[in-house]
Symmetry: C2
Subunit: 257 residues, 2 copies
């Protein structure tokens, strides 16, 4: 039986330790092709490059592993589009994996996440896809506790098939002295970022801002990704790209249009 | 009774004709404050600026109308965050409106849309919000057939309240000889962009690409935004930021985790 073809992307850039870990795990399972941003793209959400040009070059980032890799000047969503329509063309990947992100993409962060935008873009293209993130923002984040779980989730996705028009948002607890308790299928917690703007003056006395914020979870449910992560479980949330609030259609049909 | 406070943003930038039309309509109804990008941000999706600084300056773009306005170096989502946490602070807007976008944001384009990311960001912040887009990509797009409809939708939203945790994605047909037939509440059509990459060589003989694409609608439903627009109706889709594919949770709970 032919090995499955696994496309790997991310948003921290092709040289991030997280994508290397993901490539190494994917190589245990299948043939791997990497198309990833040539520089960090965190917080890019589902941005795409329109009105501007894109670069795509062969990359030596995974030459030591013998893996075919390309680096792209665009966003994670651009990378998946270029991979599908230009790099792979007639080769259809059996799975697209994105990450492993340095930092959480649970609950509302899924919207801001470049990692998840690569997975969602793949789902739009009809490809099974998973985004992986570790709740540790450091460039030197410790991924050592998760590779076997990443492998398990990838193998399960290949065996059981990801439900159509959905993609998986997988988040891992930060490494701690507590062992991971297991994997939980969850819903996205109702939460948001409470922002603060740190106002400063540049050397020319012109005002600028740093956005900082703290995460606020409004959701007391024990079936959420936040609950799972706080309790040292790996969270798996199936995500869809149909944003329609179907329950609200009835309400809006009462308006005077 | 105090006039409602209406916050206006967009993604085509503060000098685009579409936002001027929206400000003029909003002024018929309430007090208007503008916080918009200082340059075009089309296709920025739900990107936010992290790891980099933001500028925010008073803008003279609407001085002729006597409207308080600010221009921001960031994305549409950044603009809404800055508006809420810095510009308006204790003043809570009664409504946030974004647009009017030069170009369609119907069906799958809602994910790539900077216009809609401003509206969705407002919804995350608990603010009622509407994104408006016209199916005409030109900088000189003709908005003359829609201001009264924009006013009607804003007034209805203020009167009936937008359902919690949702925001409205409103798209208008391009101006034609056919009159608009009315306003339809719709769901997001199942569609995607089929991409092509136009490969070129720069003056140094290095390869670059333009992404081009054509829109493909897979959805035969007559309750979709695409159906409405093709049939010369205005489409109104309620959108949510909970991406959980709740129906898929049962399926995933059969996996071996």
């Amino acid at each position: 039986m032919a090995k499955p073809l696994i496309l790997v992307s991310n948003d921290d850039g092709i040289t991030a330790p997280g994508i290397r870990m993901l490539v190494e795990v994917a190589m245990r399972i299948g043939e791997v092709v990497v198309v990833a941003p040539d520089s960090p793209q965190s917080g890019m959400g589902h941005a795409i490059t329109i009105g501007n040009t894109l670069r795509l070059d062969k990359s030596i980032a995974f030459a030591d592993l013998g893996v075919e890799a390309y680096e792209c000047s665009g966003t994670p969503a651009d990378c998946v589009k270029l991979a599908k329509y230009y790099v792979l063309k007639d080769r259809t990947p059996d799975l697209v994996v994105s990450g492993i992100n340095h930092g959480s993409n649970s609950s509302i962060s899924v919207l801001y996440s470049g990692t998840m935008s690569a997975a969602i873009e793949a789902a739009i293209e009809g490809l099974p896809a998973i985004g992986f993130s570790l709740c540790d923002y450091g460039h030197d984040a410790d991924f050592s506790h998760i590779p076997d779980y990443v492998e398990q989730i990838i193998r399960q996705a290949l065996e059981h098939k990801i439900p159509s028009n959905t993609t998986l948002n997988v988040n891992f607890p930060k490494k701690s002295n507590e062992p991971i308790k297991g994997i939980k299928v969850c819903r996205q917690a109702h939460a948001k970022w409470q922002e603060e703007f740190d106002e400063r003056l540049d050397p020319n006395n012109r005002r600028y801002f740093w956005m900082t914020g703290s995460f606020v979870n409004f959701d007391k449910g024990e079936d959420t990704d936040e609950w799972a992560l706080v309790n040292n479980y790996i969270s798996v949330v199936p995500c869809q790209y149909d944003l329609t609030a179907h329950h609200a259609i009835v309400r809006l049909n009462e308006w005077n249009f």
